[in-house]
Each structure stands twice: as structure tokens, then as C-alpha cells.
Symmetry: C2
Subunit: 338 residues, 2 copies
DNA sequence: ATGAAAGCGCTAACAC
DNA sequence: GTGTTAGCGCTTTCAT
């Protein structure tokens, strides 16, 4: 339990003032190379590590990021946290994790749970990042934040998202290239920004391949399994039955598969189905679902980078980032018959 | 970005000194009820939350716990973290998460990653908690710690464990009560403390039910699938073939099931199999494996409690806790034939 | 039962 | 380039 070395110890050992030590540690300019080396050596010998508390108290930065989440799936939590930690480590930042109840979030809750820790910035995951109340409270508390995959309010501060539009376009083009001409699309929840993006990507693809967009082939869902069943039943009743259905979410896609089965249609022989999200369930259906995987870990890493950049310089220009998704072709897609 | 209220603001609003505010906040004695109420009201009106940095700098406690882990499974991480957070929340503590590479752990790494944050205590999960090097480094760094499910060095400080022995005993008794008289046991890795505990529980049960312990029915494994196959093949070759095999770990148990299948034995008709750990894989085999579930979340919660208690008072007497496991009877166990 | 004053270990202005 | 000084917002010790 030996007393920890302080900046003063390092300074006297190196024969300089504490300010110089501070300069070296914070990589400021105006330190001669010889002095820098001397300070670094002294710090190393003493096993010196600057105190987060003292830094946070004295300076403008706390070197702490907070990750807010609301009952995420195990895998989502692990991926997001892993991605953020990876970058925090590299930048000598620490990560505190804070579970929240999105529904119960108030200015007061935010203050109580976060004001004391004073992180340099918050990283918000869905669904917290889509709560206007949370955003209000965070702004009022004077904390900066970066959102991961926000569904709306894209104008309210920095965020990192997957490029849903581009991915939907790419997957649709794959279906077209397989030979499908009648491709239906089931949209996700109308309030969710990504749902619209995905639909736009689908339209992009049809246009790019010279196919006309038939609004009769576009149904509205809400990301739920049930909405998938309902929408698919309507689509499969059409005279010109689609040979492929691209669902804006994996749960919708599972609904489509059930509806197809009820109709006696075999997937993918009689109907190709594609989803979006690569949810764990998408691998546990048969055939395994063709879908789109979001780069969750990379998104979290990018969010941490943005958050730390903003902490250094609130004027940082880059405030948003769209990352490419991965198309995961599995068993539910094939060339149409005949 | 309004300036945050400080203890001085609260003090002047309540018409007392900052020391009195500090007393109220820290629940010290010697404050009149009327004054306490006045301070609390002022704090609430100002939305005051004490600064972690200032507290950590001035006082002996940092109100921060650090959770160390090394590539845990998604579910383990989520459970451990959830359990710890639950208690941190209640006590106004924060949790920082720190991934480590157990193999690469050195005094230097510990210092670099943790000395700066100065948590009041560390919570160590396997396998970090079984690294003597890590324990040395942590002790040298003067940090207190609580280990979750340590496999050895139980004398080196506080820990929380599942009551493996009692659980193994209970499950073995269940097998005996089903009618099994020839129950084999496959031990886990000899270096792992829990492996020995589980075996002891098995022996306890045989004794309690008046059965003799036949060392020929006890095989040595190492927690791996392969060791399960090998051990089971030997056991199933015995003249007096066991009617049940209790494996000291789920992976071993999966090996047993494969070995049984190769012999043309049907589980559970011809052979009952039980595992230990309730790993995700145990639910994904057929039939689903009878096993023992450790109370991971509760263990983490208890570890956080212990850690915070030690932070308040390093002399705290309670330094270890054993929590009961849950026996999970699934499809691999049944009464023996005939 | 309450208050005054002295730091904790840093960073930020400003001096030199 | 480098040093000096003044806090940051608390807890602690010691008065009263």
C-alpha cells in the first residue's frame, strides 16, 4: 500500500517543474527532447500514473466516457462495449457503464446518475438514443453525447450509423441478379429512421437495374413478427405474386417465412426471403435467413472516437459517420423457379 | 451548459457551512434534523450532485469499482456486469469496466490501466482471478479486490463463489433417488478448485445415501469435450457399467453424450448424463442437458457488496461468500431401466 | 452541533 | 522552453 507517486515526485526526480511534467504527459509542444526523455524516464521509474480524479477536477476533461444502455441483448452489449473499450484503451480513457430505464428517464435521473461522474461524453445506444426526453435531459445537463444507430432526430447532435440504405440497395441488387423481377418490400416501423432508409435503398436498386417500382409490392410493417405475417399474406395473395420478399427487419422476415409455410410455399424454392439486422434468431430458423449484419463493434468504436474527439475539441467538424454493413447470404434466397 | 452546482452553492443556499453539507451528504452524525432537512432541500432545488473527481481527490474513497474480465462469453459478461451494477447503483457507486489479457498481465499493466482510475476495489472474474501474477500486481499496486469464483489461492483475499460442493451433492442425490446405484463421476481440471469441490459433493451424496464410493467409477477429465469422450469410453467399457455419469462440467458432459451415442446407448434411456455450469451449449444439445446453474448475477452482486463494504471499512470481517446453485433437471436424466 | 482552514494532485493562465 | 501561482470541489483535522 505504498503511497502512489505524484506529479511532484516525478518533477523533482527529473529536476524540472511540475508544469513541465504536465506538458510531457499531455503531449504539449515546447519541451526539449532531452527534458521530455528525462521526465518520461522518471515517470517510468516511479511507476507514475496521473490521477484521474485530480485531472478531472482541475482540467476541462475527465478522461471518462459513459456508455448508456437499456436492457440490451447480451451480444449487443458485449459488442458495443468491446468496440468502445478498444478505443478508450488506446486513448487512455476509461469507460463507465450505466444502465438506464429509457421510459423512466428524467432530467433528475440523468443528473443523479451522470452529473457526479462528469464523463467527457456519453455514448447512447438504442433505444435510449431515440428518447427525446433523454436528449433534452442530457443537453440540459450540459453533457455532450454521441448516439449509435439513432432512429430519428438525426439533427440533434453527433451519431454513428450503419449505412442501411446502401446495404438494402446491395442486397436488393443481389436478388435482382439472381433473376428476381418481382421483389416485394415490407417496411419497418414508420417512426424509425432506418426503416425509411432501407426502403430507399430498395428503391435505389430497382432504379439502378432498370426495374420499375410497383407500390403495390411495398407493404407497411412495424418490425414485429406479426406485422410480417400479415404483410406477407397480403403480398402472397397478389395476382402477380412476388418471387422474393425483402423484409426491413429479421422479425418481419420470420413472419414472412411462417406465412409462406401456411400457403404451402417452400423457401427458398417458391419464395426467397431476406431480412435485416442479423439477429440471433435469424440463424435459428430453417433455412437460416439471408440478412444484413450491422457493424456494431465498429460503430461503437467510431462512436468512442467521435466522443473523444469532441471532448478535445467541441468544434470538431466530423460529427456523423455511416459505416458499411455486411450482406449475409444464407439459405432463404435462391434464383426463382423456371 | 449551465455551471454545475457545487457544495458551496448548496451551503450558502441552506445557510450553513460546506462542512455541514458534507456531513449531511455522507450521513455523518451530529447534524440537527432541521438543518439536515434544509440542506437536503437546497441540494434538491439546485440539482446538486457531488463531483466524483473532487471526492476522489480529497477523500479516501473514490466511489468507483472496477470490473476486470478477460474475453468472457457474452452472457457471462452481461450477467456479471448486471449484478455488479445493480448494487453499485443502490450505493451511488460507479463501475468502470476494464478488459485485460490475463496472460500479458504485469505490475506495469495494472498500474497503467488502474492506478490512474483509483477504484476503491477491483472485481476479478475468471480467469483473471486465478492468475497469481495478477494478484501479486494488484497487491503491490495497493488495490483491494474481490474475486468471483476463484479456482485457487482461496487464502489470498476476499471472494464470492457458488457452493459447488453442495450443488454436486444435491444433484447426485437426485440421481440416487431416481434409482441409480452405479453413478460415475468425471472430474474437471485438477488445478481448478471447483473441480475438486464438485467431486467432494458427489462423494458426500454417496455417503449420505449409504452407497459405497468406488474409485473405479471416478475418472479424471480437464473440462474439455475431448476429455469427456475419453473418460466416458473408459467408464462405459467397465463390466459393471454405470447407469449414470455425472460430469464435472458441461463440455465434459457433451463428450459423454457423444461417447454414449458411439456405443449405441440412448440417453437417458440407457445412460443418464449430468453436467455442471449450464453453459449455453447445454441447451443446444439433444436431449437438453441436466446440469447445475451458477448464480452468476447474484455472485457479482455479492462481490460488489463486499467490495464496497471493504472500501468503507478494510477491517470488514465477512470476506467470503458461498451462494447456492440451482439444479436444472432437463432431458438427459431418467430412472435406470429395469 | 457546527465552522474555518488546509490540502488532495492536477491543469490553466500567465510570467519569465 | 520552462517555472510560478492559483484554483477545481471536495474531505479532513482541528477549533469552537
Amino acid at each position: 500500500m505504498s503511497k502512489r507517486a505524484t506529479i511532484t515526485d516525478v518533477a523533482s526526480r527529473a529536476g524540472v517543474s511540475i508544469k513541465t511534467v504536465s506538458r510531457v504527459l499531455n503531449r504539449e509542444r515546447n519541451v526539449r527532447e532531452a527534458v521530455r526523455a528525462r521526465v518520461l524516464a522518471a515517470a517510468k521509474q516511479l511507476g507514475y500514473a496521473p490521477s484521474l480524479s485530480a485531472r478531472g477536477l482541475a482540467g476541462a476533461r475527465s478522461y471518462v466516457l459513459a456508455l448508456l444502455f437499456d436492457h440490451p441483448s447480451f451480444s449487443y452489449l458485449a459488442e458495443v462495449q468491446g468496440g468502445a473499450l478498444e478505443r478508450c484503451r488506446a486513448a487512455h480513457y476509461h469507460l463507465i457503464v450505466e444502465p438506464v430505464e429509457t421510459g423512466a428517464l428524467t432530467k433528475r435521473t440523468i443528473e443523479e446518475t451522470l452529473a457526479s461522474a462528469r464523463p467527457d461524453a456519453l455514448i447512447l445506444t438504442p433505444p435510449v438514443c431515440d428518447s427525446a426526453l433523454a436528449l433534452d435531459a442530457i443537453e440540459q445537463a450540459g453533457l455532450s453525447h454521441v448516439r449509435i444507430a439513432p432512429g430519428r432526430n438525426l439533427d440533434r447532435g453527433p451519431w454513428v450509423r450503419a449505412n442501411d440504405r446502401e446495404a438494402a440497395r446491395a442486397l436488393t441488387e443481389r436478388l435482382i441478379d439472381m433473376g428476381h423481377a418481382e421483389i416485394a418490400f415490407i417496411r419497418g416501423h414508420p417512426d424509425h429512421g432506418a426503416a425509411a432508409e432501407r426502403h430507399t435503398g430498395y428503391v435505389d436498386a430497382l432504379g439502378a437495374r432498370g426495374l420499375s417500382v410497383d407500390d403495390g409490392l411495398v407493404a407497411q410493417g412495424d418490425f414485429s413478427f406479426e406485422s410480417g405475417v400479415a404483410a406477407a399474406e397480403a403480398l402472397l395473395d397478389l395476382v402477380r405474386r412476388p418471387t422474393a420478399i425483402f423484409a426491413g427487419g429479421d422479425d418481419i422476415a420470420r413472419g414472412v417465412m411462417v406465412a409462406a409455410e401456411r400457403r404451402g410455399l417452400e423457401v427458398p424454392r417458391d419464395l426467397s426471403v431476406a431480412g435485416f439486422d442479423d439477429s440471433p434468431a435469424s440463424r435459428r430458423v430453417w433455412p437460416p435467413l439471408t440478412t444484413v449484419r450491422q457493424p456494431i463493434r465498429a460503430m461503437a468504436a467510431a462512436a468512442a472516437d467521435l466522443a473523444m474527439a469532441l471532448a478535445c475539441d467541441p468544434q470538431t467538424k466530423e460529427r456523423t459517420r455511416s459505416l458499411p454493413c455486411e450482406i449475409v447470404m444464407r439459405g432463404t434466397t435462391a434464383a426463382p423457379r423456371g
